[in-house]
């Protein structure tokens, strides 16, 4: 518990302070009428509305849909990305690297229509889109992290009799951990953006859908509520990742 507090305390205060500063600045900008409230409503208005909506069943449903897609997509990308990154570092580079280089920069939005036809209009196509984009930073981060392992750490494990799998689990992954977490942070953000985009493009539920519906009818506050929410989700998850830092 002490350990938990120690980990949370100082960082948390700074986080709160910086976010608070941002909000105050925003409130000042919109409060002083520096921008058109039709384009950028004040944070007070947004949070008041958010608080109101959070209690509503239908709104919770939309949040749930987005979260399911986001978390499933991220988790799948994590597993595939780390696995492929390790395989790549352990000799699969010649085969996998050219594919990664080719596929990574492709704007996955463009293949979304094909994904929809393959996977349907439900969760699967959106999760597919998330995975397709989020997996690459994870592959690369894992690959480079594993490649940068100090040879003598690996030697120590080999000499202790660690098999290939044990080496991966007990040396390669922990020592690539920092890099993998960085990859996670990037992948997470990409996941957030893609879920939202997919929901904006083609969906009847989820935060992205709420936002696009609001945007089409210029309900500015309604439009900002999902945006603020996705950004809060991003912050929460990113803090969650930071929590897994070793040592």
């Amino acid at each position: 518990m002490k350990w938990l507090e120690a980990r949370l305390a100082p960082a948390l205060w700074w986080s709160i302070a910086s976010v608070a500063a941002l909000l105050v600045l925003w409130q000042a900008v919109s409060g002083l009428g520096l921008v058109d409230a039709r384009l950028l409503p004040s944070p007070l208005a947004i949070f008041a509305h958010l608080g109101e909506q959070l209690g509503e069943r239908s709104f919770q449903f939309h949040i749930g849909q987005t979260l399911i897609r986001l978390l499933c997509g991220f988790a799948i990308a994590l597993v595939i990305g780390v696995a492929l990154g390790v395989v790549m570092a352990l000799g699969g580079e010649a085969w996998l690297m050219p594919l990664v280089r080719l596929l990574a920069p492709i704007p996955k939005i463009a293949i979304y229509p094909a994904l929809v036809l393959l996977l349907g209009f439900g969760h699967a196509s959106k999760i597919g889109l998330v995975v397709a984009d989020a997996v690459f930073p994870l592959i690369l981060a894992t690959f480079h992290g594993v490649r940068a392992v100090q040879p003598k750490l690996l030697w120590s494990a080999q000499a202790a009799g660690a098999g290939k799998i044990a080496q991966v689990l007990t040396v390669l992954l922990p020592s690539a951990w920092g890099s993998i977490l960085t990859g996670c942070r990037i992948a997470l953000v990409i996941a957030c953006i893609n879920v939202f985009l997919a929901e904006m493009i083609s969906s009847t539920d989820g935060l992205g859908h709420l936002m696009i519906v609001a945007a089409r009818s210029y309900q500015v506050v309604d439009m900002f509520v999902p945006l603020v929410l996705i950004s809060l989700i991003g912050l929460a998850l990113s803090r969650g990742i930071g929590f897994f830092r070793i040592g």
């Binding site: 492709i106 939005i109 930073p137 390669l172 920092g178 953000v189 953006i193 989700i233």
Partner: protein, 255 residues
């Protein structure tokens, strides 16, 4: 000579495998939305022989290059400073975590408000997309710098700013270059998607128009072109990596 041939073969083989996999999949599914590799490749010369289309692609690339270089110049120093200064990291981290997950396409109206609908907003969007991996990877790189290297430099009388430049930067370079590599693909992806809502002469415009008109061979031809551009830029980063970080001890797990 046969060795060189073998090497080229090994480079090309995965690409060929990918293309044939795609072709087979397309044939098996037989959907208009997913044309085969062959049809897509056939459309590529058509795009590349049109001066106007090439001009559009170059216009996009120009925006991308500007966004990329700006991010490199501004975000890498920020990330490195965050790695060296816990406080800064604690202030910037939550802000970054808040700002990045917002889809820029959704923010277009606000961005338009400040930066208009022209190049500037698109460059900004690309900048944000690129700066994500650059920030986190340079932060991570600077975090991992051996304390005693920094001390050694300080003891030589190096100031904090120069120390960042001459010690933290090179020590974090492998990690930064990894960020650059991820950033290349992010740059292309955001370059395209920045043109989704407010369109302008550019590669994304070509692609999304084709998508709107359901001209899928052209969509996939554009994808091929973008992938090749990505491959080229990635090779550039890889070349830089080999030149700049040959000193690392990371033959690593390969053995």
């Amino acid at each position: 000579m046969p060795r060189a041939a073998g090497r080229i073969l090994r480079r090309v083989a995965p690409v060929l495998a990918l293309l044939s996999g795609w072709q087979l999949l397309a044939m098996a599914l037989d959907m208009e939305e997913l044309p085969g590799a062959w049809q897509a490749l056939q459309t590529v010369p058509q795009i590349l022989s049109s001066g106007e289309d090439v001009g559009s692609i170059l216009a996009s690339l120009r925006r991308m290059a500007i966004g990329y270089v700006l991010a490199l110049l501004m975000v890498v120093p920020l990330g490195l400073s965050m790695g060296r200064c816990q406080r800064l990291a604690r202030v910037v981290n939550p802000l970054a975590a808040l700002a990045y997950p917002i889809p820029k396409a959704a923010l277009m109206p606000i961005i338009m408000l400040w930066f208009g609908i022209g190049d500037l907003s698109k460059i900004l969007v690309i900048f944000l997309g690129v700066s994500l991996p650059l920030l986190y990877h340079s932060y991570q790189g600077a975090l991992q710098v051996d304390e005693k290297l920094w001390w050694s430099a300080r003891a030589m009388g190096m100031g904090a700013v120069r120390g960042m430049l001459r010690v933290v930067l090179p020590a974090a370079l492998p990690e930064i270059l990894l960020g650059c590599r991820v950033a290349v693909s992010m740059a292309l992806i955001t370059m395209i998607s920045s043109e989704m809502i407010a369109r302008q002469r550019g590669a994304g415009d070509l692609l999304f128009n084709a998508l709107d008109m359901a001209v899928y061979t052209e969509v996939y031809a554009m994808i091929v072109i973008i992938a090749v551009i990505g491959l080229t830029l990635d090779a550039l980063v890889e070349w830089a990596r080999r030149r700049l970080t040959h000193w690392t001890d990371a033959q690593g797990a390969a053995g």
